[in-house]
């Protein structure tokens, strides 16, 4: 029995370091910076993305960006007070659909990348803080004014997860709140799920063309 436990411990030790090393206690600003740099680096080299391949961009986002986002929290924020009347099953479906919508929109924005550079604003954090904002600025070549891009992160166990992205002062998450509320008022939580599914389907169809 002890041998079994030992084996299990050994196995988990060997299996997990890769995953753990990746997410382990990277401070939020360093996390944002490393993910951003990595993604930009790939975009600059990837011929498919440069040619406008949304499919390839989605793969990239799912691989590199998604693990650092807390989509359940994001969806709860977007849905607002109606979130509580959703069953766990509905919450799961909402989260999946909302994630797909955000990933697709974000990925498409990536394919429009043209030599933008990212600046990181000075970041200060009090010890023990578990909810922070990392501020960045996107400089477009030729444009006079950089676009601000802020990430809100919270600490989940050891890892920091992004739960909101604010572009030029507009939260990509809470900006959905009133249209989500309207959908829920008209068709309940299931109505909102259906609307999101239909939206994702139509976007998917448009990508295939």
């Amino acid at each position: 029995m002890r041998l079994f436990a030992l084996l299990l411990a050994a196995a988990s030790f060997f299996l997990s370091p890769g995953i753990q090393a990746q997410v382990k206690e990277l401070p939020p600003d360093a996390l944002v910076r490393s993910v951003t740099d990595e993604v930009l680096d790939i975009i600059r080299k990837d011929k498919d993305i440069k040619a406008g391949s949304t499919k390839r961009a989605i793969e990239l986002v799912e691989q590199k960006v998604l693990p650092h986002f807390n989509f359940t929290r994001m969806t709860a924020l977007a849905v607002g007070k109606d979130w509580r009347q959703a069953t766990p099953e509905q919450q799961k479906m909402l989260t999946e659909e909302f994630r797909d919508l955000l990933v697709r929109t974000y990925s498409n924005a990536l394919t429009a990348y043209k030599n933008e550079t990212v600046d990181y604003k000075p970041f200060k954090m009090q010890p023990g803080e578990s909810d922070v904002t990392v501020r960045t600025q996107i400089h477009q070549p030729g444009a006079r004014q950089p676009i601000t891009l802020d990430y809100s992160l919270e600490k989940n166990g050891n890892a920091w997860k992004v739960y909101d992205v604010v572009v030029a002062g507009v939260s990509l998450v809470t900006n959905y709140r009133s249209s989500f509320a309207t959908e829920v008022r008209n068709g309940g939580i299931d109505g909102l799920i259906k609307t999101l599914q239909a939206k994702n389907k139509s976007l998917e169809a448009a990508t295939k063309k």
Binding site: R73, Q91, A112, G142, T148, T174, S178, S179, L203
Partner: protein, 262 residues
């Protein structure tokens, strides 16, 4: 005479009731948007105008002109705008920013060939974005109801009043030679629109309902601008978490949220 007036009044009443009805079927009950029916109609009008005239022209402009020239044109108008941006910063009690804006105009108008090259930005003088609506906001004027203006698009009551001042003090509209003025005004509209072409697709894709997406983005953006990018957190749901924390707060803030919505 009296009968005529009564008739007029009743006509008006019918029109208002009808407008209310229109508003009634489109409204999502957003307290910031009491005239949603009217706003949606105006939004549709602006979208149509954009689709038929402004966007095609801007697309052509973007396709034909080399991008350095587009940048030059945009810089030229941006430099003119910096003048009133500086005045607004001064009115908002931010003399350092105002001085920087004045410096920008000075540097860009001279070394930057009438503003065509934004030398000031590369010298570290940051471009700001201010207008009279923001100045009012800074002074504590409430934003009032959301309203979609023909041609100008999303505003709120405060920013509409601000817009009147912005237009009245716009140096371009004070150019004496009328044809020149008109060419300048039209070029500015096209140049501004061309810079937003990229955002079109993203908004179309992201929004479930474009009207409310644009409205809510406008409201958030203005709030952020008034606080120069650092608005105080105003989110009754931020403690919602993933459902774990929700149970704890259930009793206390659920009613507060309902109250906040109505």
């Amino acid at each position: 005479m009296k009968a005529k007036m009564t008739r007029q009044i009743s006509k008006l009443a019918i029109a208002l009731a009808f407008a209310g009805l229109l508003g009634g079927c489109a409204t999502s009950g957003n307290p910031k948007d009491p005239i949603e029916g009217f706003n949606r109609a105006m939004f549709g009008f602006n979208e149509g105008l954009d689709k038929v005239i402004i966007r095609p022209v801007a697309t052509g402009y973007e396709a034909v002109l080399p991008s350095p020239i587009q940048t030059g044109v945009a810089n030229f108008f941006s430099n003119i705008a910096d003048l009133m941006i500086g005045v607004n910063n001064l009115l908002q009690g931010k003399p350092a920013q105002a001085a920087s804006d004045a410096g920008r105009v000075l540097v860009n108008t001279t070394i930057g060939f009438l503003g065509i090259i934004d030398v000031a930005s590369s010298m570290g003088m940051e471009k700001h974005e201010e207008d009279v609506g923001q100045t009012f906001g800074r002074w504590g004027v409430d934003d009032g109801a959301y309203i979609v203006l023909p041609f100008f698009g999303p505003r709120n009551v405060r920013d509409t009043v601000g817009l009147v001042f912005d237009v009245a003090t716009d140096p371009v509209s004070h150019v004496d030679h009328i044809p020149t003025r008109n060419v300048l005004l039209a070029t500015r509209v096209v140049s501004d629109r061309a810079e937003l072409l990229k955002a079109d697709k993203v908004i179309e894709e992201a929004a479930l309902d474009k009207y409310s997406y644009v409205r809510d983005a406008y409201l958030q953006r203005r709030r952020s601008l008034i606080h120069d990018g650092n608005p105080p957190k105003l989110d009754p749901y931020s403690g919602l978490g993933d459902g774990k924390t929700a149970a704890k707060q259930e009793g206390s803030d659920a009613s507060a949220q309902v109250a906040a919505r109505h």
